[in-house]
Amino acid sequence: MAIEVKIPTILRTYTDGAKSVDAKGDTLSALIDDIDGSHPGLKGRLITDDGALHRFVNIYVNDEDVRFTGSLDTELKDGDVVTVLPAVAGG
């Protein structure tokens, strides 16, 4: 089972420039561990030393912000699309 993970421009240095990568995992946490195996260093940009999501990183599963769906424990299923975006100003 593969889940598409969309990577923002600013983090593509870790994916050899790829806009998206495929990864596996039943939860967001497992998915990020899987990505870090194939693209070392990426996890450190998404998650802080104390294991929380970086303040200026937003992750969406099928367009819904994971901070409201269980954060790193958010469950994933085949065909989900995970989007990583930096937090920027709107309005």
């Binding site: 600013i10 983090l11 912000d65 409201f68 975006l85 920027v88 709107g90 309005g91």
Partner: protein, 322 residues
């Protein structure tokens, strides 16, 4: 009473209208209904009139703003237009720092109201406008930056206006859906609703732009508005230009409401919630109110309302539409 001494008194108290065609279940014992709060009925045509009025009044009360002062504000458009009107009537100058990738209508309106526009680069979007405005504020210490992203009066306007109006007009409200930019609408109205009707869910819709607008040099340059407190929200959706446009057009076709593109994004989130409830349980009722942030007039030049959806979404790529 619909008579006012000045345009500055004639804002808020906007209509809440039902959407019988777009709602999953309008009739029956357990309806799942959508309601649109028409904030385009404010003096300059957007919900931002509420925040602009409140921020100016608060700054006047604190003595920060005195006649002849110049106001400085980073804005992608609507707040600037609201402030320009208020500034004109109250005797202030206005300098707006605006990303260069915003619609021509916004610029023309600002110029017509007498505001000065300083363009910030498209790369970096509103983030860059905020950073540029902060630099300019340092160089011009006598200018007053109201700073909508961190000004409590912005949220307070919705705590005192938008929130109470919603509950007054729709006591059976179960969900409130609004756009997330400065976060003022959701923080203010959302807090009010949490206090008075604790079961109400506050749902945010934020725009997902093209890559250009996320052009930070590193993650630590990211930005979260000082007003933002995620404990006020129940869920938060990121909506693409394509989905926002699709819903904007559905709103015209089905309900006759001509709204701006950000309203399409808000409707997209509202429908996601409504469809989820309607599909799950025929015995659950819901009254979902969402914000029509502005009308479509300021976006005609973007091509959002003509040609195929795909073409329109491509034309909108790289532009700020919320």
């Amino acid at each position: 009473m619909t008579r006012y001494d000045s345009l500055l008194e004639a804002f808020g108290d906007t209509p809440l209208v039902g959407l019988p065609r777009l709602s999953p279940r309008w009739d029956g014992a357990n309806p799942v209904r959508l309601w649109a709060k028409l904030e385009d009925r404010n003096p300059t045509g957007s919900i931002k009139d509420r925040a602009a009025m409140a921020m100016v009044r608060a700054a006047e009360a604190e003595g920060r703003l005195t006649p002849g002062c110049t106001i400085l504000e980073p804005t992608s458009g609507n707040t600037g237009i609201s402030l320009a009107m208020v500034a004109k009537l109250r005797g202030y100058g206005l300098v707006c720092v605006m990303p260069e990738n915003t619609s021509i209508e916004r610029r023309q309106l600002l110029e017509m109201f007498g505001a000065r526009i300083i363009s910030s680069p498209a790369a970096g979007g509103s983030n860059q406008a905020v950073a540029t405005a902060k630099q300019i504020a340092q160089q011009n210490p006598d200018w007053v930056m109201l700073y909508q992203y961190g000004n409590p009066a912005n949220a307070q306007a919705h705590y005192e206006g938008t929130g109470p109006e919603l509950l007054r007009d729709l006591p059976t409200l179960t969900h409130f859906v609004a756009g997330l930019g400065t976060t003022g609408t959701l923080m203010g109205a959302g807090r009010f609703l949490r206090e008075k009707a604790p079961d109400v869910q506050n749902i945010a819709a934020e725009p997902r732009y093209g890559e250009l607008d996320y052009g930070l040099r590193n993650i630590d340059e990211g930005f979260v508005p000082e007003l933002y407190d995620d404990s006020v929200l129940t869920s938060r959706f990121s909506v693409t230009s394509y989905d926002a446009l699709r819903r904007t057009r559905e709103l015209i076709e089905n309900e006759g409401i001509f709204a701006g593109v950000s309203t399409g994004a808000i409707l997209h989130a509202a429908l996601a919630v409504a469809d989820r409830i309607a599909a799950k349980d025929p015995a659950t009722r819901a009254d979902i109110a969402f914000v029509v942030a502005d009308g479509g007039w300021k976006y005609l030049s973007t091509g959002a309302y003509s040609g195929s959806l795909q073409q329109a979404a491509e034309r909108l790529e790289g532009q700020l539409w919320a």
